[in-house]
């Protein structure tokens, strides 16, 4: 039930931008927020973040790279998670990675990651230039809604 809170809040923000934003810039304008990785149990980990697009044109997240190990992009369809080649970042919208939904999957981590560490992640897009994100490692039970 609580799951409505997250996406709705996000949507509200996005719509405020749509309604009140003055920009008619056709190009995608991307920014990244709320990045975190729950402290992993093994050599696999999940990563979450929001990619906002203030521009009037959609973009696509095509790949993700990191020094800590291979990263793939997964979406959750029903109960199944599936690796995908790309995900859309809609115009005046957001691409949201959150627990139970889309996630970045880190595989074969080169070293143990602990709460307090930072993981550098590079996001590659179809049109826009790559974005580098510092993803903090949070507690294994970190909940972005409550912040602890």
């Amino acid at each position: 039930m609580r799951r409505f809170a997250g996406p709705v809040a996000v949507l509200t923000g996005a719509l405020v931008l749509t309604g009140c934003g003055g920009s008619d810039d056709a190009k995608a304008q991307l920014s990244v927020g709320s990045a975190y990785m729950p402290q992993p149990v093994s050599d696999m980990a999940a990563g979450f973040l929001d990619i906002a697009n203030k521009g009037g044109e959609k973009d696509e997240l095509t790949s993700v790279t990191s020094d800590v190990g291979p990263v793939s992009v997964h979406e959750t369809v029903g109960q199944a998670m599936e690796e995908v080649k790309s995900l859309d970042v809609p115009a005046h919208g957001q691409l949201v990675f959150k627990s139970g939904g889309n996630h970045l999957m880190f595989d074969k981590l080169k070293h143990t990651l602990k709460q307090g560490d930072n993981v550098t992640v590079k996001l590659h897009f179809a049109k826009s230039g790559p974005l580098t994100v510092e993803m903090p490692v949070k507690s294994a039970t970190y909940n972005p809604t409550t912040g602890h």
């Binding site: 409505f4 809170a5 709705v8 509200t12 405020v16 149990v41 996630h103 039970t141």
Partner: protein, 216 residues
């Protein structure tokens, strides 16, 4: 409970639309009120007809035979079906329970049984499972064994799991329901159901009740 959820969602959507039209700030307050009412509701779904314990005779992380019904008899027990190559919900759920458990007095921690049954027994051998669970809570029980037995056991709890399969990129994935079922130490019935959104705080609040076989 479900009806209430949809009502809340509709209210929130209405408020969202108002904002998109640059409406006055007053409307912006209503989602907050609805959400706070929402979080006050119970995490557990109390089952009118409790589940019988599944007849699962599997192998634990020490490689020994583990008869779920016999081992968990009259013990407060939580069961979850998942797999160790699962990056998101499985470790989150197990860690949420582990953190909540640590807030209990030692004697109560020792009473509680948390059983993780793999849905990917080919990769989750007894030792792999043991290694993974040790990173979460050394008291948690991990079970592996014949997939058909595990699937049939899960099905009696209304949890659907599918054999591990390759996705279109050749990665092995396991599809499984993410519910946690709590069994009462008094009746041995599976009387509570928790979804994947259940937080540490929810479990912290409910575990003392489960240990007594009470309804949270």
């Amino acid at each position: 409970m479900r009806k209430k959820t949809f009502a809340a969602a509709a209210l929130l959507a209405a408020a969202t639309l108002t904002l998109s039209a640059c409406g006055s700030g007053d409307d912006g307050n209503s989602p907050v009120a609805v959400v706070s009412e929402d979080t006050a509701t119970q995490a557990a779904t109390v089952l009118d007809t409790p589940f019988e314990k599944p007849d699962l005779v599997l192998t634990d992380t020490h490689g020994k035979k583990y008869d779920f019904r016999a081992e968990t008899k009259n013990r407060p027990t939580l069961i979850y079906f998942g797999y160790t190559h699962c990056p998101d919900i499985c470790p989150l759920t197990m860690n949420n329970i582990a953190v909540a458990k640590k807030s209990l007095p030692k004697a109560e921690q020792d009473k509680l049984l948390v059983v993780f049954v793999t849905t990917d027994p080919a990769r989750d051998t007894a030792s792999e499972l043991g290694k993974w669970l040790k990173g979460i809570d050394t008291q948690f029980v991990g079970l592996t064994g014949d997939f058909a037995t595990i699937q049939a056991g899960a099905r009696t709890l209304g949890i659907s799991i599918e054999p591990t399969s390759k996705d279109k990129n050749g990665k092995l994935v396991s599809v499984h329901g993410t519910q946690v079922v709590a069994f009462s130490p008094k009746t041995n019935g599976g009387y509570l159901l928790y979804g994947q959104d259940t937080t540490v705080d929810d479990y912290t609040k409910d575990l003392p009740k489960i240990i007594k076989g009470e309804t949270p």
